[in-house]
């Protein structure tokens, strides 16, 4: 189980991605203990092929999925599944093509910064964007991480973090009667 191995392999294969989630928080200085490595990948056909090839080499399998059901992990599965939560030879590994609270890959890349990680330039989601993504989920377990990241932001930038406007929960627009 090694973040170093995952990031180096992704870089060697030319996968275009941004490190997000707990690993990004730790890279910036958070004391958060995360269980999985999360990345947001560029959803182009070539990039999906490269990422799918790497995941196959890692013997990736869907977390919670049993061997009694088939699981085909290829570029098409990546295309059809915006989020994949996987267990691999290198531990838990989640891949997604967008981030809640930030947007599509282009927005995520714009909200990231380049850091040299294990000697390799790697794009990592910025602390401000991490706060926005954690706040957007409204999950109870992400609240503590967001509060810690805000304190980290203040230490790194010498000023209070900007207030994140949480998405308001509005009634969903009607899609007709959902006729079956």
């Amino acid at each position: 189980m090694s973040t170093e191995a995952i990031l180096q392999a992704l870089n060697e294969r030319g996968v275009r991605y941004v490190v997000i989630g707990g690993v990004a928080a730790v890279a910036h200085g958070s004391a958060y203990l995360t269980d999985d490595t999360d990345i947001c990948y560029q959803p182009t056909p070539e990039n999906r092929e490269r990422l799918a090839g790497y995941l196959a080499d890692l013997h990736a399998w869907l977390r919670g999925g049993g061997p009694e059901l088939p699981f085909v992990l290829d570029a098409r599965t990546l295309r059809d599944s915006p989020v994949l939560t996987l267990v691999t030879d290198e531990g838990r590994f989640d891949v997604m093509d967008s981030v809640q609270g930030i947007g599509e890959y282009a927005d995520v890349e714009a909200a990231s910064q380049e850091m040299v990680v294990f000697g390799v330039p790697t794009r990592v989601l910025s602390v401000g964007a991490l706060i926005a993504s954690k706040r957007a989920t409204r999950r109870v377990r992400d609240e503590a991480v967001a509060v810690e990241l805000e304190a980290l932001y203040a230490k790194l930038h010498g000023r209070e973090p900007p207030r994140v406007k949480e998405p308001r929960r509005r009634p969903r627009p009607s899609r007709g009667r959902g006729r079956a």
């Binding site: 090694s2 004391a31 869907l62 059901l69 699981f71 006729r179 079956a180």
Partner: protein, 175 residues
């Protein structure tokens, strides 16, 4: 499963699920076998043009008889029509949706307004019970050191899990 999780697993809106179950006269019990059958019926209904009741019947037959690791093929008696269902692909997509239903939609969400932002970020963190001095210690280290320590801590937590898995696989299953 809640109705929301069930609908995510099926790949439909909750309203579609409720209407479909009513039309098929199936009791509302939001469990995995029903989600699997309804998801396959929805695929046959949407992609192959089956009516929903005949898609439901076909889904039941496929799930009973087919080898899930191979494509399922049905040919009409006169040989004019052949329907092929890529079951490995269907089960892949279904399992991904089921995993999303179990992970994202199961985590408890904060209700009500966002907590107030009185005081500085550091004060709020202390009030929340977060040891802010750990941040100072972490910031004194390089990124590589922080990430290597994360990996090392993960391995410590992974050991009991592995032991638990081995224990479960060694123990005899229910009779």
């Amino acid at each position: 499963m809640t109705l929301g999780q069930f609908a995510v697993a099926v790949g439909a809106s909750p309203r579609w699920v409720l209407n479909a179950l009513t039309r098929l006269r199936v009791p509302r019990r939001y469990d995995e076998p029903l989600a699997r059958r309804l998801a396959l019926a929805k695929t046959l209904h949407a992609s192959a043009g089956f009516t929903l009741p005949s898609a439901w019947e076909a889904a039941g037959r496929i799930l009973r008889e087919a080898d899930y690791f191979k494509d399922w093929q049905y040919e009409s008696d006169d040989g004019l029509v052949t329907v092929r269902v890529g079951l490995p692909r269907f089960f892949t997509n279904y399992q991904v949706r089921l995993a999303v239903a179990h992970s994202s939609h199961a985590a408890p969400k904060r209700r009500g307004r966002a907590p107030s932002r009185r005081g500085s970020a550091a004060q709020r963190a202390w009030a929340y019970g977060i040891d802010v001095t750990l941040l100072d210690a972490n910031l004194a280290e390089t990124t590589d050191v922080r990430l290597r320590r994360l990996d090392s801590n993960r391995r410590v937590f992974e050991r009991p899990r592995e032991a638990n898995r081995e224990h479960r696989s060694d123990s005899p299953g229910p009779e």
